[in-house]
Amino acid sequence: MALLECRKLTKRFGGLVAVNRVDLVVEPQSIHSVIGPNGAGKTTLFNCITGFYRADEGEILFQGEPIHWLSPTHIARKGIARTYQNIRLFGNISVLENVLIGMHIHLKSGLIAPLLNLKSFIEEEKEAYKRAMELLEYLDIAEWAFFKARNLPYGQQRRLEIARALALQPKLLLLDEPTAGMNPKETEETTQLIKRLRDELGITILLIEHDMRVVMNISDVVTVLDYGEKISEGTPDQVRSDPRVIEAYLGHGAASGLKPVASAGTVAKGG
């Protein structure tokens, strides 16, 4: 059974159809990329899946269960976590606390336990602190634990966002342009990190990415959106040679002027 399934998903903003009858099947333990030119509806798709937007038509199934009518809070509790295109950390609190907030749904204490300083509360907090620190170590940002999040260097902020999302212990992780603004070295590190998340933690990953080297390198399946519609889907190689994809990126007629197997980097620059 697919982990996530979108059926004929449609989202309109006034007259603009941002996502148009998109079908998407994400298999468990896969790295599934969504690519497309700017304004293709990729982030809108993410916002529909995480409940920020309510889809106008179609349905979203997570582990066979419809989730398109749930609130973001409940969707998060089902096991879907995400990061954001423009980093959205809790800037004025410490890095460690950011991760602790990510663990929110796995902790139990309410208002009374901390006030009475119950043993259960202290034990739970200690455990949470340890796990949070482990996550920070996993992402190699443990030394920054007591910095305010907004004072972190850019690359570390991206990592922290992933750490915070991982704290939810998600089954599905939505990454929205995780390498945006990174230099080649950082991009390579992030690519390896995404692979590790899948291989070591068994998390399914749905990825929006503009850097074609990353996409072609690690994706099992690539879905291409253009003007809200799905125009192609398949393995990286299949998508790379699809004339419709090249057309979407380079304009009408461009496909005939290129070799069938254009280098991935060229396509990216064209987009």
Partner: protein
């Protein structure tokens, strides 16, 4: 960057405007009535001296750093303050030749006498110039005195002057012999000022913190070991509890002030949870204060027949006592906190502020309405509010006795704030403050987080209100206007949003200080406004801002590892 001369004129012009303003609104004249050091310095002169020092420092800021501690620095500072004194000289000449009072009520002959040290003619003007020049020399001199002496001496001077200004607060704390030696009826004696200054300098110089500051810290400084109350805190608590009993005779005024400060601290902790932790800008916070105060008053006064009858029929007694009402206050303010919370769950920022403002006004209007007069006392208010009793014998009456109750309540509010800060619920509130949408996508229930913030804040304000009405013995609707909400919010801003020590600092600065300078109450809002503008420009994070903290649990869990982590 500016040339020294240009910087001097720029700063001098700014300083002149401020000095003119202070003189013409009447602050110099009013403040001059308060002597700080006998026959030497008055508060009014101090005001002008402050402007002068500020002008010099501002002028120095405008020139490149490497030129400040040179002849250029002297030139800049002294020219800039000379511009200020020139302005003031022109003002006194203008007042003497033409009548400015048709426009500036305070441009009086008395102002001229103050400015020229009661000396007519050119000699007076020269005295004024020399006086203002002293400020410039002090300002630039700071750069030439080696560290740490410059800090030690300036803070010692500040502390001495504050002890002079706060004569009414300080004298009850000292033995009579010392008071007679140091103080006159209105301020410090000259010898007293010198002794205090030397004493403060000595204390500050030996204070080890200065030396520690000099070394930059590379790693997190963490004290490990069993969790105990540090000695200074313990001593502080002992003093806090011993003092009122010792000083009850002389210190009644002191405790009047401290009670008010304390009540504001309780409210500050409460609003800090709502605004500081959860980021919900609440401008109607006074509503909960009023609800607490009125609950206490209505249930305990013998005045309201309708309520008396109702109580007699239901519980067989016509009034309740203080301790019976406190739990009711908690429950009612909790419920009203939730009631306000529910309709505003979906609003943010400005909209939330407007709605809460409306809520505060609704409560105030209900209280003064004729309709509810039989229950709430109407515009005249209610008298005969219960005072707390112990075992039916010992009655709490005096302000120093209330001080104990208030300190205990502050302790409870502080405890709740501290526990909440490092708990799951508190983190959820902070997440909502930072980014509500992301918080929801982390699975945080924003309804629960917001309502618990509103409810906790409301309970603290309710308790503060109950103490307030009981202490005053009577309450009237006009004590519960929107200014209270604004005051509490301001003390949070001044102290530092979200910071717990900041609440205390803010309350002392915004409630304590105006109480001490009560005779200048008419200038209170003016100073408030100026202070807030300066704060927002130069220290927007507050006097005691919240830092990224290492919680006690983190210390316990990570221990020595913390030494290897980076700090800000």
């Amino acid at each position: 960057m500016n040339t020294p001369l240009r910087a001097a004129f720029r700063a001098g012009l700014a300083g002149s405007l401020i000095a003119l303003h202070l003189a013409l609104v009447g602050m110099v004249e009013a403040f001059n009535k308060r002597e700080i050091i006998q026959d030497t310095v008055t508060l009014g002169q101090l005001l002008l001296l402050g402007v002068s020092i500020g002008t010099a420092l501002y002028a120095l800021q405008l020139i490149p750093q490497e030129r400040r501690a040179t002849r250029d620095g002297w030139l800049t500072a002294l020219v800039s303050v000379s511009v200020v004194s020139l302005t003031l000289m022109l003002l006194s000449l203008a007042i003497q030749t033409i009548n400015l009072r048709f426009m500036f009520q305070n441009a009086s002959k008395e102002l001229v006498r103050i400015l020229t040290f009661h000396t007519p003619g050119v000699v007076g003007l020269v005295k004024l110039w020399l006086f203002i020049l002293v400020g410039g020399i002090l300002g630039v001199g700071y750069l030439f005195v080696p560290r740490p002496w410059n800090r030690v001496l300036s803070i010692a001077a500040g502390a001495t002057l504050i002890m002079g200004v706060m004569r009414s607060i300080v004298t009850p704390l000292l033995p009579d012999l010392l008071v007679d030696a140091l103080y006159t009826a209105s301020g410090l004696k000259r010898i007293g000022a010198v002794v205090l200054f030397v004493l403060w300098s000595a204390i500050l110089y030996t204070y080890p913190r200065w030396k520690a500051r000099a070394q930059t810290l590379q790693t997190l400084e963490v004290r490990l070991g069993p969790r105990t109350i540090p000695l200074p805190v313990f001593l502080g608590i002992v003093v806090l509890f011993a003092l009122p009993a010792i000083l009850r005779e002389e210190g009644s005024y002191l405790f009047e002030v401290l009670d008010m400060v304390g009540i504001y601290i309780i409210m500050g902790f409460g609003l800090n949870i709502v605004v500081g932790y959860a980021g919900l800008l609440d401008l109607g916070y006074v509503a909960f204060f009023a609800i607490g105060a009125y609950t206490m008053a209505v249930l305990s006064t013998p005045e309201l027949p309708v309520v008396r009858e109702f109580l007699t029929q239901t519980i067989g007694r016509s009034t309740l006592n203080f301790w019976e009402i406190i739990p009711i206050v908690i429950v009612i303010s909790l419920i009203s906190g939730v009631l306000l919370g529910v309709p505003v769950l979906k609003t943010h920022g400005d909209y939330l502020a407007i709605i809460t403002l409306g809520f505060g006004e609704i409560i105030r209007l209900l209280v003064i309405s004729d309709l509810l007069k039989p229950i709430l006392g109407g515009a005249q208010g209610i008298t005969g509010v219960a005072r707390p009793t112990f075992f039916g014998k010992f009655v709490i009456n005096e302000s120093w006795e209330y001080f104990y109750l208030i300190v205990i309540t502050i302790g409870i509010a502080l405890y709740i704030s501290v526990r909440l800060r490092d708990s799951r619920a508190g983190r959820a509130m902070k997440a909502i403050r930072e980014d509500e949408e992301v918080a929801k996508a982390m699975g945080i229930d924003h309804v629960a987080a917001k309502l618990s913030a509103f409810a906790t804040g409301a309970v603290m304000a309710g308790l503060a209100g109950a103490l307030f009405s009981s202490r005053l013995y009577s309450i009237a609707p006009h004590s519960f206007n929107v200014l209270i909400s604004i005051n509490v919010l301001c003390l949070l801003i001044v102290g530092g949003m979200g910071s717990l020590p900041g609440v205390v600092v803010g309350a002392l600065a915004l409630v304590g200080l105006p109480e001490v300078l009560r005779e200048f109450a008419e200038f209170r809002l003016l100073v408030y406004g100026a202070a807030l503008i300066i704060m927002m420009l130069y220290k927007p994070e507050g006097l005691w801002p919240e830092r990224a903290r290492v919680s006690p649990i983190a210390k316990e869990v990570f221990g020595d590892r913390l030494q290897q982590l980076k700090i800000e």
